[in-house]
């Protein structure tokens, strides 16, 4: 069993458990064994809930043995980015300021996973408060890319992407604010989906930038991701920005084929600055999609060049606000000695936040100051509208867009850590969809000569997840990039 789960799709595991072919407990043990052996080198987990996973798996097995019909993910071991609040299980958001925080409530997405029968193996590493593109901003330890341990897995959901790539979980949840699901999915060669804004509830997802935060799934295959999304999507009255429409049938869409679809190729996403191997792989993927029956249409998203600036204005402003609650009073880190409120706040926050969080808090505070609002935040909200309108216009001409996910494959740890602006600029292809709120998926479309995965991004119109899954599913069915697995580290 232990070797069997390596590369085994989540959907196959769910079917195996439902058919009585495998026990959930065996799957859990197989993954726990892999985690114990391999995660020392990868660092995907912040917390492995060994006992909890075993207990839940045994319950599932008993119920299946008793003939009960369980949810669609019954018995499947999953991992959760440690930004999803889990009742009774420490939740840190990758930050020292939340060290030891044991929430008294459960996020909607993880509650839905559990209700569907999934078994959580534990909490996955991330950039602190989901701020970063390399996972080097975790306050605990970095995550390494399973394809090359010298390289980053991407971020901020680096643990979630690496855990799927290294077969440490059957599937995982992450969050995407400016690319935090799709970019690590690209760098780790797995499937990552950022659904439409509001499609998956944010209730219990520790906020980074509220108007941009999108929870979503990672899977080894398109169908795996679709299966996870079907479970976690859908209206939640606890989130006032939750879309009222029910979840779609994404698994079905992923098998529907793409013939007759018009796929837009935005020229702004194929400009200078892209790695040659990435460009070659993405162009080859476009050709493949054409062969599969799609009609490729050149389109333009003219405000793309403003997306990164707009994104960083909005996300830092919202982050400075969302991170104001970490004050050492109700939970989390508190400085050892404080004789005044000023000291309590200044020291607690100065000690508790890492460098990137501080950078964004300061920038966000700066742009929201009286007298600066209109020039920065207000301006960004207007440009955001223009960027969203670009997508609306583009989707008049096509059913989905196809682009690269990241301009480069995985880079080395430390390579960009000293230059935050260069790190931000690498989000060029991923920041616009969350600004517009439209769904997007990243999947593997090839490898560099040195064996690093390259990601293809498919972007759909708002509420158009089905279109995205059709493209991604058809591409995957016609290629075998997703079957390649990284070597287990020694």
């Amino acid at each position: 069993m232990a070797s069997h789960v390596r590369g085994l799709p989540l959907v196959a595991q769910a079917e195996g458990v439902a058919a009585g072919q495998w026990k959930s407990r065996d799957l859990v043990e197989a993954y726990l064994d892999r985690i114990a052996r391999l995660d020392k080198r990868i660092g995907a987990f912040l917390l492995v809930d060994v006992e909890g996973a075993r207990r839940k798996a045994d319950i599932i097995d008993k119920r299946i043995a008793a003939g009960e019909s369980l949810g669609p993910l019954a018995g499947v071991p999953v991992g959760l980015k440690d930004i999803f609040v889990t009742k009774g299980i420490e939740t840190t958001a990758g930050s020292k300021i939340l060290k030891g925080f044991v929430p008294p409530y459960e996020s909607t997405a993880t509650a839905r996973l559990e209700a569907a029968g999934a078994v959580s193996l534990g909490k996955l590493n991330l950039d602190e408060f989901a701020m970063g593109s390399s996972n080097e901003n975790s306050a605990y330890h970095p995550v390494r890319n399973p394809w090359d341990l010298e390289r980053v897995p991407g971020g901020s959901s680096g643990g979630s992407a690496a855990a799927v790539a290294a077969s440490l979980c059957a599937g995982t949840l992450g969050t995407d604010t400016g690319g935090s699901i799709r970019q690590p999915a690209s760098l780790c060669g797995v499937v990552g989906v950022k659904p439409t804004y509001g499609r998956v509830s944010r209730y219990g997802v520790i906020a980074f930038a509220s108007s941009l935060d999108h929870p979503g799934p990672f899977g080894r295959t398109v169908e795996d991701a679709a299966a996870l999304l079907e479970v976690i999507a859908g209206h939640d009255p606890m989130d006032s920005t939750s879309i009222p429409q029910p979840a779609g049938r994404y698994r079905q869409a992923s098998r529907a084929g793409l013939s007759g679809m018009r796929l837009g190729v935005p020229k702004e996403y194929f400009q200078a600055g892209m790695d040659a191997e990435v460009e070659a792989a993405v162009r080859a993927a476009l050709d493949e999609l054409g062969r599969l029956g799609a009609r490729l249409v050149p389109v333009s998203l003219p405000h793309t060049k403003y997306a990164i600036a707009t994104y960083y204005l909005i996300c830092t402003a919202e982050a400075s606000s969302n991170l104001a609650r970490y004050d050492g009073v109700r939970y989390g880190h508190r400085t050892a000695e404080a004789s005044s409120l000023e000291e309590l706040y200044g020291k607690t926050r100065g000690e508790g936040f890492g460098a990137e969080s501080k950078r964004r808090i300061v920038l966000g505070t700066y742009v929201l100051r009286a007298g600066y609002y209109e020039a920065y935040y207000g301006k960004a909200l207007r440009v955001r509208r223009l960027i969203a309108d670009d997508f609306v216009a583009a989707f008049q001409q096509c059913d989905a867009l196809v682009t690269p996910t990241s301009p480069t494959p995985a880079f080395k740890l430390g390579e960009r850590a000293s230059d935050p602006l260069q790190m931000y600029l690498a989000d060029i292809y991923t920041v616009a969809p969350p600004l517009a709120g439209v769904p997007a998926l990243s999947q593997c479309c090839g490898f560099t000569k040195s064996g690093l995965p390259i990601g293809l991004q498919t972007i759909g119109p708002a509420l158009g997840e089905e279109a995205v899954f059709r493209v991604a599913g058809a591409y995957e069915a016609a290629t075998d990039w997703h079957r390649r697995l990284p070597e287990d580290p020694a």
């Binding site: 999803f84 609040v85 939740t91 958001a93 939340l98 925080f101 929430p103 008294p104 409530y105 996020s107 944010r202 209730y203 219990g204 997802v205 520790i206 906020a207 930038a209 509220s210 108007s211 009255p237 606890m238 989130d239 006032s240 920005t241 402003a317 919202e318 400075s320 606000s321 991170l323 104001a324 609650r325 970490y326 004050d327 009073v329 109700r330 939970y331 409120l341 706040y345 505070t365 929201l368 100051r369 009286a370 609002y373 935040y377 909200l381």
Partner: protein, 478 residues
């Protein structure tokens, strides 16, 4: 310039806690008091990941307040985050409204010394309340979040107020109004009505505003008056000495009757408002507005005018409109009685209000003397079945024993003796034993009639019909 040459210019920011069952953005109880941190949930405690969900009743109450003050209700308003750090503020920001509040404009009308005053409103907006800091003598402080998230309406007035008394009366009018609307108990002691004041002075006749100070912590009607009076005097003193008033926030210390600088203009907050991303714009449509408008009760000012039209004095009308329940009680009694409104008003004001602990209980089902019972009693008095004095006694027993006037009168023959023969006998007894007084009366001391009447009443145990007593005495003494 002497201090009389200045006038004060005052604007108030009143915070009204709305009387919802749950908090504005979450499902825990909004009840006052209780064990610290007994009424919390992930949202109002500001736990990571928790999200606000708006309480419709809180919006409805704010809409009613807006309609009652004649404000323009925005069909589409927004919440905004207002940032500052304080232990009682769990999220590091308050969810308030900024440039798109629910209500704009409007006016609060009230009477001061018989004169009608109007204070215009800039806006009314919704927000969540903070928790409570408890300052402990041990050198640390404690925080209780039971109050965190209780819905508030902040009513910002134009600087239309000209004196401390006017400010206090304006605030009373707000209390009366919110009680009429049933949206708050307006209790300053429990903090369900709170206020800050912006105070400046300027030479009379000047239209430009002077430099203002903001007074905080003025949370009783007395504090409002005292603090504002003190601040006006302080500013006049400064101006008298040729010194400038400094724009600042001052904290009122009610124990010592003084205020002190809390923070200067330079230290003023930078609240960094921005639209609350967790809550889309709030829409109040025409259907909602129409329903809220239809459900509005008669408001204090309209009722006051109506009562004047019934022939009541301005003073009586003021007493009867002070609480919605007093006026309701009066109206119900009036509807059931044949007596004049003025008579009913006297009974309500002098007897009923003297006995009820809280006038708001007057319309409770178990009020000892319901309005119809009062009407019956007043009619008995007006008919002459009972004297005024006897009527009051009967009222006392009605209140104590929860009985109807008719029962008491029938069962215990407390009704007035109107039998002239009985009365005449009593009058004769009094006249016969008072020869001196009879002589003096006949000599022209008309005031002595009262002496005879009093004695006849004693003879009859107060039951003689005073009208008949008077008639017979005049005949006997002629």
């Amino acid at each position: 310039m002497s201090s009389h040459d200045y006038e004060a210019v005052i604007g108030l920011e009143a915070h009204v806690q709305l009387g919802t069952v749950t908090k504005i953005f979450s499902i825990s109880s909004a009840a006052f008091g209780g064990e610290p941190n007994r009424h919390t949930d992930p949202v109002c405690l500001g736990l990571p990941g928790a999200l606000p969900v708006l309480n419709r009743r809180a919006v409805d109450m704010a809409v009613r307040l807006g309609l009652a003050t004649g404000s323009r209700i925005r069909s589409r308003c927004r919440f905004a985050r207002k940032h500052y750090f304080y232990p009682d503020l769990p999220k590091g920001f308050q969810i308030s409204q900024y440039d798109e509040p629910l209500c704009e404009g409007g006016v609060v009308t009230f009477r001061l010394d018989g004169e009608v005053k109007q204070v215009r409103l800039v806006r009314i907006h919704m927000e969540d309340d903070a928790g409570k800091n408890i300052h402990d003598p041990s050198g640390v402080s404690f925080v209780d979040y039971n109050r965190a998230g209780v819905p508030l309406c902040e009513m910002v007035s134009e600087p239309d107020i000209r004196s401390a008394d006017e400010a206090a009366e304006y605030l009373r009018a707000i209390r009366t109004l919110v009680r009429y609307l049933g949206i708050s108990d307006g209790n300053m002691e429990e903090g369900s009505l709170r206020c800050d004041a912006n105070v400046s002075i300027r030479p009379r006749g000047e239209s430009k505003l002077g430099t203002k100070t903001e007074l905080k912590n003025i949370n009783s009607f007395k504090n409002v008056r005292d603090a504002i009076e003190h601040e006006i005097a302080r500013q006049k003193l400064l101006c008298g000495r040729g010194e400038a008033v400094v724009q600042e926030t001052r904290l009122w210390d009610p124990d010592h009757g003084i205020s002190a600088t809390m923070r200067s203009k330079e230290e003023a907050h930078d609240y960094r408002y921005f639209p609350e991303p967790d809550l889309p714009p709030v829409v109040v449509d025409e259907t909602w507005l129409a329903a809220a408008r239809a459900a509005l009760p008669e408001l204090p000012e309209a009722r006051h005018a109506r009562f004047l039209g019934l022939g009541l004095s301005a003073q009586d009308a003021s007493v009867l409109v002070a609480e919605r329940q007093i006026g309701d009680y009066f109206d119900q009694a009036l509807a059931a009685a044949r007596a004049l409104p003025k008579k009913i008003a006297n009974w309500v004001i002098n007897e009923v209000l003297a006995r009820v602990a809280d006038a708001r209980q007057l319309t409770d089902e178990d009020v000892p003397v319901p309005p119809a019972a009062l009407a019956e009693l007043v009619d008995l008095v007006e008919k002459g079945t009972l004297s005024g004095k006897l009527g009051k006694e009967v009222f006392g027993r009605m209140w104590q024993e929860r009985r109807r006037a008719g029962d008491i009168v029938a069962a215990e023959s407390v009704s007035l003796v109107s039998d002239s023969a009985v009365i005449e006998a009593a009058c004769r007894r009094v006249v016969e034993r008072s020869p001196d007084e009879v002589a003096r009366f006949r000599a022209g001391n008309a005031k002595l009639l009262g002496f005879f009447v009093g004695n006849v009443m004693k003879e009859t145990g107060g039951k003689a019909n005073p009208k008949i007593v008077n008639e017979i005495l005049r005949k006997l003494l002629a």
